[in-house]
């Protein structure tokens, strides 16, 4: 492993009419646990089913039904905790969070307020090479998701689907260590990356499988340091919570808007009211969810239907022993083993599929060349055509085979690009395709030399010019490449021209 020592990024400062202000942000990420069945019932978690078909009597809260916990969901929460270097609580317990809403048939959500399964951990959020924020995780608890209401199918009615009701969620709560909109987005990106590496949440934000509540407050410069020293929140401003965002862009826009709104209030002599707000992407503003205010009295109490959840250290150790390589470690390894730059290593470890593809290409080959081809040629082309790495027309083996031809000098860089194009559109074995299409670099230096000697002999005037101005030697290279039908390696020709002309 490389030695990872990071500088702390500067907090975002917003200039108000009177003062400079800093932002203080804490996040609650709701991540849907990847599992087959729900947290407390045997109904499926699959999406896209008929409404109310992935629903058991437990999920729709029929009288007398009792929850039975899905052990795999517990394992996933433990795995997530370990991935965030967090304490695992061998004893946790479930509580009822009571509120009324049509998509919550029980009238309460089973959650873990008092004794969460995972305690304090951390996430390292890189903002630039060598610059990173260490965001502390306060806790992770398991809870049930609610159902889905559809409001636009009928003018007077809302339609409710309980398919999602009871699906397991992990609520991952950070400390207020995030200091700007970009950091907030980077935090979500990093957390999502870790969860996907762990296989504990698919991170699909579009379908709401990962969504964020963001707590935002503003404070004068210097106040945050006082908070960090004392952990006393009174040094910070009053916070507002922006609920339920599922896009990095909206998260940033909402934080920026909310911070400016609060600054305007405080500079105007007013006071920020602690409340829940909703971001409206169409208007680009946050507004108060007044209806949530009274409902906020959740009257939590221990869930009488569930005994405390006790797990064994040996089981936790077993999960720990089966942990995959995580993004930070993989990135460090790619930089160390393959000599990649920070940037390239970030791009290639962004998700597991890309990382595995690159590793297959780079294994036993030059890492930097492999990275260039995977990032610039392959990813560039995939993006352009809207493909993911999973459905790349060119496999890692094909790209690797092509790179072997290139590194052995059997094809030139130009030919490699042509070959890549053919592999992309028509497929095939790189060596066979190259042979069939007559793609063969002239490696016979004798032939190159002969062509060059003939040129020198036939163009004494050009020789004289090139000796005066070395740039003009390029003419010889061009002519030789022409004479060999573009099959000679320009680098080889260049070197030979320079040697022959004594440049």
């Amino acid at each position: 492993m490389l030695d990872l020592t990071y500088e702390t990024p500067k907090p975002k400062v917003i200039a108000g009419a009177k003062h400079d202000w800093e932002l203080v942000i804490g996040m609650e990420i709701h991540a849907q646990v990847s599992s087959n069945a729900k947290l407390f019932s045997g109904a499926s978690t699959a999406v896209g089913a008929e409404p109310n078909s992935n629903v058991s009597f437990v999920d729709c809260a029929m009288p007398g039904m009792l929850p039975v916990i899905n052990e795999y969901c517990v394992e996933q929460a433990v795995r997530t905790g370990l991935g965030l270097k967090a304490q695992i609580h061998l004893r946790s317990a479930f509580d009822r969070k009571n509120y009324f809403y049509p998509d919550l048939p029980q009238g309460y959500q089973i959650s873990q307020l008092y004794h969460p399964i995972v305690g304090e951990g951390e996430v390292l959020v890189e903002m630039a090479p060598g610059v990173a924020r260490l965001v502390r995780i306060e806790r992770i608890h398991l809870e049930q998701d609610a159902g889905k209401s559809i409001h636009d199918m009928d003018p007077a009615m809302s339609f409710v689907d309980f398919n999602r009701t009871g699906v397991a969620l992990m609520e991952i709560v950070s400390r207020p260590d995030i200091r700007g909109p970009e950091e907030a987005a980077a935090y979500v990106v990093k957390l999502r990356q870790i969860l996907r590496y762990l296989g504990t949440c698919d991170g699909d934000m579009q379908h709401g499988n990962l969504r964020a509540d963001v707590n935002v407050s503003v404070c004068r410069v210097g106040q945050y340091e006082k908070y960090q020293e004392t952990q006393d929140f009174s040094h910070l401003g009053t916070r507002c919570e922006i609920k339920n965002m599922n896009s990095m862009r909206f998260i940033q826009a909402a934080i920026d808007y909310e911070a400016r709104r609060q600054i305007a209030i405080v500079e105007d002599g007013g006071q920020v009211v602690q409340e829940t707000r909703l971001y409206d992407p169409d208007k680009g503003e946050t507004r108060s969810m007044r209806s949530k205010e009274e409902a906020h009295d959740y009257r939590y109490f221990p869930c009488p239907d569930l005994l405390p959840l006790e797990i064994e250290q040996a089981w936790v150790d077993d999960i720990a022993a089966r942990m995959p390589e995580l993004p930070d470690a993989k990135k460090a390894r790619f930089m160390g083993d393959f000599g990649l730059t920070d940037y390239d290593a970030n791009v290639l470890t962004a998700d597991l599929e890309s990382a595995a593809f690159f590793e297959a290409v780079a294994q036993g080959r030059d890492g930097k060349t492999a990275a260039n081809w995977v990032i610039n040629e392959l990813f560039g082309r995939l993006n352009k055509e809207g493909h993911g790495i999973g459905d790349s027309p060119v496999s890692a083996a094909q790209l690797g085979g092509m790179l072997d031809l290139l590194s052995k000098g059997e094809i030139t860089g130009k030919m490699a690009k042509e070959l890549f194009e053919i592999l992309w559109t028509e497929g095939g074995d790189p060596a066979e395709v190259a042979a069939a299409r007559g793609m063969k670099a002239v490696t016979d230096t004798g032939a190159i030399e002969a062509a060059l000697d003939a040129l020198i002999a036939g163009n004494p005037a050009q020789v004289e010019k090139a000796k005066v101005n070395a740039k003009l030697a390029g003419w010889f290279t061009g002519q030789v490449l022409k004479a060999t039908g573009g099959k000679a390696d320009p680098a080889v020709v260049n070197a030979m021209v320079a040697a022959k002309l004594g440049l």
């Binding site: 599992s35 087959n36 069945a37 019932s41 045997g42 109904a43 499926s44 008929e50 409404p51 109310n52 078909s53 992935n54 629903v55 058991s56 009597f57 437990v58 729709c60 039975v68 916990i69 899905n70 052990e71 795999y72 969901c73 517990v74 317990a93 009571n98 509120y99 009324f100 809403y101 049509p102 009238g107 209401s149 559809i150 409001h151 199918m153 009928d154 003018p155 007077a156 009615m157 809302s158 339609f159 409710v160 689907d161 309980f162 909703l278 969810m289 209806s291 009274e294 409902a295 009295d297 009257r299 221990p302 569930l306 005994l307 405390p308 959840l309 006790e310």
Partner: protein
């Protein structure tokens, strides 16, 4: 701790229980009695005693991550006052 009429009204609203205005004082009194009894229990010194969650030494029952239930849309919707196209239909709720 005693529950006043205002608190009783709020708790009833949160629980979506409709209580007539003239029943509130009696309800508040009953709730106060319950809390009073709890306060009496609070007088017992339980320092160092772990809260008891079960009278028998039981381990929380677990299930495997296997789909064993669902696909009973008709039964799930059977008692709904109104259901359309597989959905529960409820009076409009929009934030």
């Amino acid at each position: 701790m005693s529950i006043d009429v205002e608190t009783a009204r709020r708790v009833a609203k949160l629980a979506r229980i409709q209580v007539d205005e003239h029943d509130l004082p009696a309800l508040a009194g009953e709730l106060s009695n319950i809390l009073g009894f709890m306060e009496q229990l609070n007088e017992v010194d339980v320092t160092g005693v772990e809260p008891m969650t079960s009278v028998t030494p039981m381990r929380l029952k677990r299930r495997a991550d296997v789909v064993t239930d669902g696909n009973i849309q008709e039964l799930v919707l059977k008692n709904a006052p109104d259901a359309r196209e597989g959905f529960f239909a409820v009076p409009k709720v929009v934030e």
